[in-house]
């Protein structure tokens, strides 16, 4: 299975916690970017994609018509038929009245709405500019437009958040009847305004214990509302798991287009430069996009695959693992398995291994053991 990721880096404003490649929206730059992106897409090898994902930045700083045209072009270029999952990330306050029918008409069948919180104070803290009512409006509009899956992003461990306000955001998401929720613990990334804030005022931020309580709340509320946790941060109603993201965790291939985009192709992982001008220059001139790449082999390749698979509810399938990496999971990882099981982090069954509930809370420790394992 092949996924297509397209990065649209422009935003109407910059969120203080965001670490993605992004720039304040400028009409001229956004146009040049779209042209460059088009050239990069045309230069890609022919392939058939099972999913297309437009992420950002804020994709819907572009006009709906531009998004629609881009999606149609990508679908045609990568032979993405009606069965393919076509997702677009959007900021709710930028959605115009006629936008979503245009999206749907171009084939978009999944919307990922950047909500983050339903609490007005938290929304301000996060530097975002929508209202809870706008979110409800967008969800309703998506339904009217016939978009099949609607997902919300929520963030917990936001400074100033309380267990009660987090619970309220989760409940608000459930009550909107969405099909999918991504609940991310706030990650303070170096170089962001949040990082400087935390430097000045570390106590404003959640420690792991308090964050764990919030995560616990998310599992409880979402499961009660009929969502299945199918990955550490992702919850879906039956039939609404994101196949684009699932492809990452299955160690599937994907082409990434745009500044800072990541690809996994023919066993090579590569990431495009985050320098916008350098990207524009190279893509416009049909040159190779500068960036970094690596190719893993042996234990490192297998370890990374385990790291990804363990994030999912189904975990690692021994048969698939053997098939793809030629290794017997149990005998290969025997030196580290005992402790993980003893510490109650890993469940080993007849056909596969997966994180226990406790293991999901400390997945870094478990996955870290696999990615650094050398026999």
């Amino acid at each position: 299975m092949l996924g297509i990721y397209v990065h649209l880096p422009f935003c109407p404003y910059i969120c203080p916690y965001c670490d993605f490649a992004k720039w304040p929206h400028r009409r001229s730059a956004a146009r040049r970017y779209l042209d460059a992106l088009g050239r990069e897409v045309e230069a890609a090898p022919a392939a058939q994609a099972a999913s297309i994902f437009l992420g950002g930045g804020t994709p819907n700083t572009y006009e709906a018509s531009e998004i629609g045209a881009l999606v149609e072009r990508l679908r045609a270029r990568f032979a993405a038929g009606d069965g393919a999952e076509i997702s677009v990330e959007i900021n709710p306050e930028l959605v115009g009245a006629g936008d979503l029918p245009i999206y749907a008409g171009a084939g978009v069948n999944r919307l990922s709405i950047g909500v983050q919180s339903f609490d007005p104070a938290e929304i301000r803290t996060l530097g975002r500019r929508h209202t809870p009512a706008q979110v409800a409006g967008v969800v309703a509009a998506a339904r009217r437009a016939g978009i099949r899956s609607v997902s919300l992003d929520l963030i917990f461990a936001v400074p100033g958040q309380s267990p009660a306000s987090w619970r309220a955001s989760l409940i608000a998401a459930c009550e909107l009847g969405v099909d999918h929720v991504s609940a991310y613990g706030l990650t303070v990334e170096e170089g962001t305004r949040y990082a400087r804030w935390r430097e000045r005022e570390p106590t404003a931020f959640f420690n792991d214990d308090r964050e764990a309580d919030l995560y616990e709340t998310a599992l409880e509320v979402l499961e009660a509302a009929g969502f299945e946790q199918y990955e550490i941060s992702n919850f879906a109603k039956p039939g609404h798991r994101s196949s684009h993201n699932a492809n990452y965790w299955e160690n599937g291939e994907y082409f990434g287009f745009g500044v800072g985009a990541a690809s996994y192709r023919d066993g090579e992982r590569s990431v495009h430069t985050r320098d916008l001008e350098a990207y524009l220059r190279a893509a416009s001139a049909d040159e190779a996009i500068p960036g970094t790449s690596e190719r893993l082999e042996g234990a490192a390749l297998a370890g990374e695959a385990v790291m990804l698979a363990l994030r999912t509810a189904q975990g690692v399938s021994f048969a698939a693992f053997k098939d793809r990496y030629g290794l017997d999971f149990i005998s290969f990882y025997r030196p580290i398995l005992g402790r993980l099981v003893e510490d109650g982090l890993l469940d080993i069954g007849a056909a596969g291994a997966r994180l226990t509930k406790r293991g999901r809370f400390v997945a870094n420790d478990v996955c870290g053991a696999f990615v650094t394992f050398a026999p």
């Binding site: 996924g3 990721y5 990065h7 993605f20 992420g55 991310y184 613990g185 706030l186 990650t187 792991d208 214990d209 964050e211 764990a212 995560y215 550490i232 941060s233 993201n245 990452y248 994907y254 990434g256 800072g260 985009a261 990541a262 690809s263 996994y264 992982r269 990431v271 970094t292 690596e294 370890g303 990374e304 790291m307 990804l308 402790r339 003893e342 510490d343 109650g344 982090l345 999901r360 809370f361 400390v362 997945a363 870094n364 420790d365 996955c367 870290g368 053991a369 990615v371 650094t372």
Partner: protein, 610 residues
């Protein structure tokens, strides 16, 4: 000297043109700078050159502002009387750990330049060095250094010299080694005040006051020829080890080794004789002619006795062989270092190592880590206890885990030191608190003219090695100075304090402590360990126990959450690298049972502020 009578039949000679001297000073009072100036003035070496090569050859030593290894230097000096003199500057280590080496260097001299900082005045170490020099009957030239400093008060300091050292003010030379002031006067004083060496022309006796190992030439002995002469080709005998060698080369340090035909009576230089190891000839040894030996050796030979022990373990078990090889190599150059294999339940295979003192211990550890790229875990340092068992057996215990069970012990003795502390009067109260809490007994208290106080204590060595100096410095804003000397063994009411992690005793964290202080120490240590031990996948109880009874308990709660929320838009590489980084941090820790311990945990016992 007992030897005087035996050799009285021989003719006594005086080496008129030779002067042997050393420079003694408190740390930072300017010893290296003055040595530098003396050499510069006699055009022997450029300033940097000297510092880099001649004296403080090792980074470690310079970083700590002290000299551990001693390199003598021969200087040719034309005095105001128009005659040329051979001045031999014999360097002395500046730390109490190396007191024995200091004493051997002093024994090779007739005089000493005593440097006193014109602003700071006499310090505890100054006094200790002065008394040591007097014991060796050296002529003292007091130099008040750094007189150009704004805070300098030479008058006051000369007052101290009169009062404390009983030296006339008029004997003091005012100097600024940094600016070259007074250097000529010092050189002249060396010639005019320090007596030339006297000895017998016959029957070689050379004092080995230092010995270094050279990978290509074997042991290089630094020798003061007391009687007779030493030349290349001489078959000489080490009187301490009763072994005979043929001398292949003699020479002087100018400052590099420079071969000469012979070393005459009274002079200082080196001898090379294909000696394979520092165990075969060592500091304090006397060499004599094998065919025509002296009747008795020079006095004062003593085998180096380690005072402080600790376990050294490779962080990775696989590095055990590397550690053994590195210790072997270090030992070639450090006769005082002793080690033997040991194993710890917590740490696996390693070595029990003995050192002259804490500084020596730190230096060895740093050398192992820097020069041999080893990642080491050191267990808490211990002194050597003497345990008399109920059956009358006496057992030497240098490792707390080897302490016999309480019911088998009749008594435990521990080494004591006499500690001399000099301080401004404001801090006497604080010092009394620290020393009392460390079982010190006040011997003497003396008020100096300038208002400072000298306190003399007898204290258990173990109380001094654990953090005492740092405490003293911090409680007196850095004003107090300390020096100490071993005074022998005393009985103590001592117990073993054990630390249990996750219910399992960790031998590497246990130590022997005064019963009255044990519970308190246990509480502090468990608190400290709680801070140092990162949270694990499970709750970790930390307990302190005496004789099986728990006296303190803390708990490190389990990690609840450690997970990367996001997928970084498919940037899997970045995610993987974050995990690798986290994991590398953990790999630096030592797994003890199920618990991952950072290296600092093993040193926590060293920093038990009260």
């Amino acid at each position: 000297m007992t030897t005087a009578k035996a050799d009285s039949l021989h003719r006594t000679e005086v080496a008129e043109r030779v002067r042997n001297f050393c420079i003694i000073a408190h740390i930072d009072h300017g010893k290296t700078t003055l040595s530098d100036r003396l050499l510069e003035r006699t055009r022997l070496a450029g300033g940097r050159d000297f510092e880099d090569q001649a004296l403080d050859a090792m980074d470690l030593e310079r970083e700590r502002g002290i000299t551990i290894r001693m390199h003598p230097v021969t200087i040719n000096y034309v005095a105001r009387d128009g005659r040329s003199y051979q001045l031999n500057l014999i360097d002395t280590p500046g730390h109490v750990d190396f007191a024995y080496e200091v004493s051997r260097s002093l024994a090779a001299c007739e005089g000493a330049i005593l440097i006193i900082d014109a602003a700071q005045g006499i310090e505890a170490q100054t006094l200790a060095n002065y008394h040591l020099a007097l014991e060796h009957d050296l002529t003292i030239i007091p130099v008040i250094n750094k007189i150009d400093l704004p805070a300098a008060d030479p008058e006051r300091v000369m007052g101290e010299v009169e009062e404390l050292l009983v030296i006339e003010k008029s004997d003091c030379i005012l100097a600024s080694a940094k600016n070259g002031i007074g250097v000529d006067d010092i050189l002249e004083a060396i010639v005019s005040r320090i007596p030339p060496p006297a000895g017998h022309a016959d029957r070689l006796r050379g004092l080995v006051f230092n010995a270094q190992f050279d990978a290509y030439r074997g042991v290089v002995s630094y020798v003061r020829v007391v009687d007779g002469r030493l030349r290349a080709g001489t078959r000489f005998m080490s009187m301490a080890h009763q072994r005979v060698y043929e001398c292949t080369e003699v020479g002087i340090f100018s400052p590099q080794m420079q071969a000469t035909e012979q070393l005459d009576m009274g002079s200082v230089g080196y001898a090379i004789a294909n000696v394979k190891s520092l165990g075969d000839i060592d500091v304090g040894d006397t060499i004599t002619e094998a065919n025509h030996p002296a009747h008795v050796p020079l006095p004062g030979y003593r085998k180096a006795v380690p005072m402080v022990y600790c376990g050294l373990y490779p962080n990775e078990g696989a590095a055990y062989d590397d550690l053994r090889d590195a210790l072997e190599k270090l030992k070639l150059n450090d006769a005082a270092l002793v080690y033997e294999p040991e194993s710890s339940v917590a740490l696996g295979f390693g070595f029990r190592c003995g050192f002259l003192g804490l500084l020596h211990m730190e230096i060895v550890q740093e050398r192992l880590e820097r020069n041999y790229a080893l990642d080491l875990i050191a267990t808490s340092p211990s002194v050597v206890f003497r345990v008399t068992k109920t059956d009358g057996d006496v057992q030497i215990v240098d490792n707390p885990s080897k302490l016999p069970a309480g019911n088998l012990i009749r008594l435990i003795e521990e080494p004591y030191v006499k500690a001399t502390i000099m301080t401004p009067p404001d801090y006497v109260g604080s010092i009394m608190e620290i020393t009392q809490s460390r079982r010190g007994t006040l011997g003497n208290m003396e008020y100096l003219h300038d208002g400072r106080v000298i306190l003399t204590y007898e204290m258990p060595l173990v109380e001094v090695i654990v953090d005492f100096f740092d405490q003293l410095k911090s409680r007196t804003k850095g004003y107090a100075s300390l020096d100490y000397d071993m005074v022998g063994y005393r009985e103590g009411d001592l117990v073993k304090l054990e630390i249990l992690l996750n219910g399992e005793p960790v031998d590497a964290l246990s130590f022997i402590v005064a019963r009255e202080r044990a519970a308190h120490r246990g509480r502090i240590l468990t608190e400290k360990l709680k801070e140092l031990i990162p949270r694990q996948m499970f709750e970790v109880p930390i307990q302190a126990a005496i004789g099986g009874k728990i006296v303190a308990r803390e708990t490190v709660s389990a990690i609840r959450k450690n997970v990367l929320a996001k997928c970084y838009g498919g940037d899997i590489t970045r995610k993987r690298k974050l995990l690798e980084k986290q994991k590398v941090g953990k790999a630096r820790m030592k797994r003890v049972g199920r618990v991952d311990l950072p290296q600092e945990a093993f040193m926590a016992v060293l920093r038990l502020e009260d």
